[in-house]
Amino acid sequence: MLVTTSDSGQRITALNRAAEQLGFLPGMTLADARAIHPALRVDRADLAGDHRALMRLAFWCQCFSPFTRADAPDGVSLDITGCAHLFGGEAGLLDMLSRKLGGFGLTAKLAIAPTVGAAWGLARHAASPRLVVPRQDLRSALAPLPVAALCLDAASLPALEKLGLKRIDDLLDKPRAPLVARFGPLVLRRLDEALGHEEASFGPLSPPVLHAVTCRFAEPIITREAIEIAIGRLTADLAADLERAARGVRRVELRLFRVDGWFEALPLATSTATRDAPHLARLLGERLDRIEDRAGFGFEAASLSALQVENLTGRQEDLGDEALVGARGDIAPLLDRLVNRFGARHVMRAEPHASYVPERAARAVSVLKPAKSHDWCAHARIVQDGAPFARPLFLLAVPEPVTTLAGVPDGPPTRFEWRRVAHRVASAEGPERIAPEWWLAPVGASRRTRDYYRVEDEAGRRFWLFREGLYERGEDTPRWFIHGVFA
């Protein structure tokens, strides 16, 4: 039996048949179980590993239908509309699925139903491990199941059971309004979805592929050099494909299929549309770090798919700001390499934002987004209201509290201590009063006015301090913070 540790102690998450027959149930505490039967064999549950395995299974199930969904923690849903006939009808599909899953060493409970909700419940709660329910029998098949078969949330399930509504039968044909009033809209929505009164569907597991090239190897390859050669071939093929379609890629994914059925996926995004094969090959090559450790018994096939494409018809003359746009076009390969190495969140450019609140006056956007030309000069003039040098060079992400000594309560400090270093203020300018954007702040958040001061200490270092809150407004005592450092 497997246990997980939570706030309320160790609880059983999974158990084998022998333990089930002894009367144990998932959710019991380990202490209770040990008290009943001291000779239990207990192991820690690997929830992340379970999830990885489930995703693997879901990916494998794509050979039956692209519309596949992993239902954490314990199931996979497939939308087999229009697919079943390929495998000898619904019964044939079920046979094949159960045989193949058996081959993996898995015991599966399978159900085919006209709605995804009904199939979810039937697979988990029906007595038979293999079931095909046609539309006319749907109601009668669902009726004897417990309400848990409706895929409800943790709150409404105990509420239903407490009132004696234990089976779906108890909910069918009941007046709807009182049920909604008491349990919220979820219960009836799930019921409608299961019965097919309401639409429920899901998209494909893998994003649709627009252009794809594959290559299969005569022998499984393991070494990095061999993989790089394969990437060179794939990118050249994809580039030729894109050239014909007059398109360039923004997102591609390389998949290396392992002999044992799993695959390694290397997604890649570029800052502008490209079909430059050497550039793509180089970017992908940089991602192959320690690929040999993950190769297992080798890769037997590889595919390169374009997930997002844009029209690209030769190089276009830029008509806009030449200094900015023209140069940007040429540094796209550099940006791609930086993003490839550091991640999209670590290669940013700044965009102005119309706000007087300092931390909101500028925002960082990824270089993968198209660059726009901004008039920073005007923006700075507006936020500083004409004063030169009224904004610091460095802004602390979170203002840090400082201890201050002020001559008069609502004047600038005469000395302050920041990070255990005392500074004597030689000159100060302010206050610059910045009121919070009350229309944006969430209810209950602090909405205190800040008075900003530019102060210079005796060594000539310039700091941006603010006092949060005002005196004699019935609020707490105002506190001082440092928000930035000037050049």
Binding site: A327, R341, H346, P358, A361, Q384, A390, L393, S427
Partner: protein, 282 residues
């Protein structure tokens, strides 16, 4: 005179052997004539590596500020973006670059690409990659104090790449490393100075407050130059007739440095030209 000619010939011979400057790049004058005269190219050489070192622990922002003022001047004469690479932990400690503050100094934040990396070696990788791209105007890297990866070969690689493409590289060391030898063209030490009080009437309040940023900059290293090289303080403030440190003030409107009027108790006026005998002797 024959003696002087020989030295010129020798310099040319060394320059061809060094292969560091295959193309003569224009220099960006800093503004004040006295400052430019101290630099062999009569300005900050572009397509070269320059190092900035804060004079004290609290002068980090001053060093970066001075760097961005240099960049504002470089960016005016060369189109393209500027790459800024900084270790993530330093950004947490010192705060992030604040674009409106850059705009206030006269540098267009729209031309900045910001990269945060975890390790100094990644910073150096990003700088080296970027220096190979001619469309950039400049690259700036911030290196923490304990960046062992930045040694002479690493700096030499950066300098060669910078020279090949004409992209200027600035490196800000968190602190001066004693006995450090790098291939940088110049090294500057920057300290904050009290600014001139200025009368203000704006939304930012009325009264006298800190004015334009002012720093004391010291040229501690200058290749092919005739001054600097000392790190034993600046007691005299001048060096064989030529100073190696200046009090400068940044003018955000003309994008130039200016030397504010000297104060009464400072060393005598030094703008008396070049002491040629000293220059030859070096």
């Amino acid at each position: 005179m024959k003696h002087a000619f020989d030295i010129e010939a020798l310099r040319r011979r060394i320059a061809t052997q060094e292969r560091l400057t295959p193309v003569r790049r224009p220099a960006v004058p800093l503004g004040p004539a006295a400052l430019d005269a101290a630099l062999p190219a009569h300005g900050l050489a572009t397509g070269a590596l320059h190092e900035l070192v804060p004079a004290a622990h609290g002068d980090f922002a001053a060093g970066i500020g001075f760097g961005f003022c240099l960049l504002a001047r470089i960016a005016r004469s060369r189109a393209g973006q500027v790459l800024w690479a900084v270790p993530a932990h330093l950004e947490h400690r010192e705060g992030g670059l604040y674009p409106p503050g850059l705009a206030a100094l006269g540098f267009d934040p729209g031309r900045l690409i910001q990269v945060t990396a975890r390790k100094p070696i990644d910073i150096l990788w990003a700088l080296e990659e970027a220096l190979g791209h001619a469309p950039l105007a400049a690259v700036v890297g911030v290196l923490p104090e304990k960046a062992r990866d930045y040694d002479f070969p690493a700096s030499r690689r950066l300098a060669l790449r910078a020279a090949a493409q004409g992209v200027t590289a600035l490196i800000l060391r968190e602190r001066e490393v004693p006995g450090m030898s790098t291939a940088a063209e110049t090294r500057w030490s920057i300290a904050s100075l009290p600014s001139r009080l200025e009368g203000m009437t704006s939304r930012a309040g009325a009264g006298f407050g800190p004015g334009a940023p002012r720093w004391q900059i010291k040229l501690t290293k200058c290749r092919k130059g005739t001054s600097g090289g000392r790190s034993d303080g600046w007691s005299a403030g001048w060096h064989g007739g030529r100073p190696d440190n200046w009090d400068v003030e940044w003018d955000h409107e003309t994008l130039s440095f200016r030397l504010p009027p000297p104060l009464a108790d400072r060393a005598p006026a030094w703008a008396s030209g070049i002491d040629s005998s000293w220059a030859e002797a070096s």
